[in-house]
């Protein structure tokens, strides 16, 4: 369980996150909001790229914010990026192995774990193929494979299906839905595709201008007046 308390992030005069307090229960949780709402900043705080101005984050009882960012991956925080970051110079296998070897796990299981992660996301082609031979969708899946290899405890997915055609988005949704159960990690999904969020997430939190405006079961949250206003705007906008 991830407990976020009074989390505030300011960049100069801009307040990206404004006293956000919420808890994520095991399972897949959605995090939505209009552009600039602070979703990626929230991920950056969890993965260590941004130091919050105030607030605490406790993950499964441990203080996440006191860990150096590269240690968080070892502890079990994994993330994907809005623009996918498959390492072009490495093979598919090595892209995933790279993450595995920097987690705490020993080398003996590496090959099995890496192939398992590739199979989990449905990348069944040649593991020694170079990244350049992959399609955009396969690269996205490769990033998810990197996020689930080994034994992650917290998987942060930042718009994993952005720009993908419907068919591949559906496959991505199926992969995401299986993460909590088969990988055992609490998964937080940021996406603008509401059908993907409602298909994957049991609970959803909504950010708007750095403030939490709604949280709860996904279906209820998506019906919330405030949420609809935040997305569609009001008459004066």
């Amino acid at each position: 369980m991830i407990e976020v308390d009074a989390l505030t992030v300011r960049f100069g005069g801009v307040t990206s996150l404004d006293g956000v307090s919420l808890a994520f229960e095991p399972g897949t949780c959605g995090l939505i909001g209009p552009n600039g709402a602070g979703k990626t900043t929230f991920f950056n705080v969890l993965s260590g790229f941004v130091r919050p101005t105030a607030g605490t984050v406790r993950a499964f009882g441990e203080n996440l914010l006191s860990m150096a960012h590269y240690r968080r991956a070892r502890w079990g925080v994994r993330r994907t990026f809005q623009t996918e970051q498959a390492i072009v110079e490495l093979s598919v296998f090595d892209n995933v192995a790279m993450v595995h070897e920097h987690s705490r796990l020993g080398g003996a299981r590496r090959r099995r774990d890496v192939l398992g992660a590739l199979e989990f996301v449905g990348l069944t082609g040649d593991p020694q193929a170079t990244v350049q031979t992959l399609t955009a969708g396969e690269r996205r899946l490769l990033e998810v494979a990197r996020a689930v290899v080994g034994r992650p405890r917290l998987v942060l997915l930042d718009e994993p299906a952005a720009g993908l055609p419907d068919e591949e988005t559906r496959h991505m949704g199926e992969v995401i839905r299986r993460i909590p159960e088969q990988v055992g990690a609490l998964t937080i999904l940021v996406d603008h595709d509401m059908s993907l969020v409602s298909a994957c997430c049991t609970t959803t939190a909504v950010l708007d201008f750095g403030k939490l405006i709604a949280a709860g079961p996904t279906a209820e949250v998506l019906r919330d007046d405030q949420v609809i206003r935040a997305y569609l705007g009001t008459a004066e906008v």
Binding site: S47, R79, E101, H102, L118, D126, Q128
Partner: protein, 360 residues
């Protein structure tokens, strides 16, 4: 290309390695053949003049390899590698005069000491990248050149510096007893170079290589993967400095006498240009860079052409490479040859092509 069994079938397999593909076998075969030619055929074919030049090619291939690790693998542009080479040569010369240690041990010590100093020079790399890092390392290289000019290289004198300005009969820096002659020392330096290439190859193919690839492309992605970027950048600096220090040690024995005037700050810049030309992303590129840096001037000298033309040639070469073959000659030339081969085959084969020839 590679045959891979389904994950379920390979799960029980113990070996963490893949079966080597055909490409890998071919590359290993070509490398082994070239090494054998370099070791046994070249000393028979070449005159002493070119054998000495080839010894320098071996030395500078190692230096280019080190810079290739920094620029091509990690993305750290250093303009101080010639100064690091000078440090390695200085340390080796000092140890060779002061002690009777076996030559390989001296090379190892020169490598380790240079590793410490070279990593310290590279420390700004932890904070800076790109142009700023290049500028800082260039200035440090300049500072080292100044220091070397005032202290001079050891010439058998006493004290820490080992320099005796009054000595008339300067003793030569010794060579290993098994490699006293020029051809033998050439073979010796090729073997050392091969060992350094092997050391770097092992790094690139394993954990540090993957970490470097991630750091070069995207530091956030590397951090998110759990890579301690500071540690791996230091590691790359240490590796590059180590092999460059060893190269300095090989150079000390090769030339017998070292002078500060032979190590200019400009060399560091030329070195980067030539490494980019050869190809910073491949190990072959380092050998190409070594040939361009040392064999080409020797050829020009023997043809009576001033080696000063090389600065212009390298300048034009870098421009050409950066615009048309960003991965360097080592990558581009085989591709061009393959394209040429296809073209020739097409011209020879079908009569259709002949009928099209009439078109302007």
């Amino acid at each position: 290309m590679l045959e891979t069994a389904s994950p379920s079938a390979t799960e029980g397999e113990r070996s963490p390695r893949w079966h080597p593909g055909r490409g890998l076998l071919v590359r290993t075969g070509v490398a082994a053949a070239l090494l054998l030619i370099a070791l046994f055929a070249l000393p028979q074919l070449l005159s002493l003049y070119y054998i000495d030049a080839m010894t320098q090619v071996a030395v500078y291939s190692i230096v280019a390899l080190g810079l290739g690790v920094l620029v091509g693998r990690v993305g750290l542009v250093s303009l101080g590698q010639a100064a690091v080479l000078a440090i390695g040569a200085w340390v080796a010369a000092r140890l060779l005069f002061a002690t009777a240690q076996p030559y390989p041990l001296v090379l190892l010590e020169a490598g380790v000491i240079t590793m410490g100093l070279g990593t310290a020079i590279g420390l700004p790399a932890l904070r800076l990248r790109g142009l700023y890092l290049a500028l800082i390392t260039l200035m440090l290289a300049g500072a080292i050149t100044v220091v070397l000019t005032t202290t001079n290289f050891p010439n058998g004198g006493s004290g820490f510096l080992g320099y005796n300005a009054a000595s008339v009969h300067i003793p030569a820096i010794r060579r290993p007893s098994i490699a006293a002659s020029d051809p033998a020392y050439y073979r010796y330096s090729v073997i050392i170079a091969a060992l350094m290439f092997l050391l770097v190859l092992v790094h690139i193919r394993t954990r540090p290589g993957r970490a470097w690839a991630a750091i070069r492309q995207s530091e956030p992605a590397a951090l998110a993967a759990g890579i301690n970027t500071t540690l791996y950048k230091l590691w790359a600096l240490a590796l590059a400095s180590f092999i460059t220090g060893v190269a300095g040690g090989v150079m000390a024995g090769a030339v017998h006498y070292l002078y500060a005037i032979d190590f200019t700050t400009q060399d560091s810049i030329t070195l980067l240009a030539v490494v980019l030309m050869g190809g910073a992303y491949s190990l072959w590129g380092a050998i190409v860079a070594g040939l361009l840096l040392q064999l080409l001037p020797a050829l020009l000298n023997s043809w009576g052409v001033s080696a000063d033309w090389l600065t212009i040639l390298f300048g034009a070469g870098v421009l050409q490479v950066l615009t048309t073959a960003p991965r360097g000659l080592a990558d581009q030339v085989p591709k061009d040859l393959a394209r040429l081969g296809r073209l020739l085959r097409r011209l020879r084969r079908p009569p259709r092509a002949a009928s099209e020839e009439g078109a302007p």
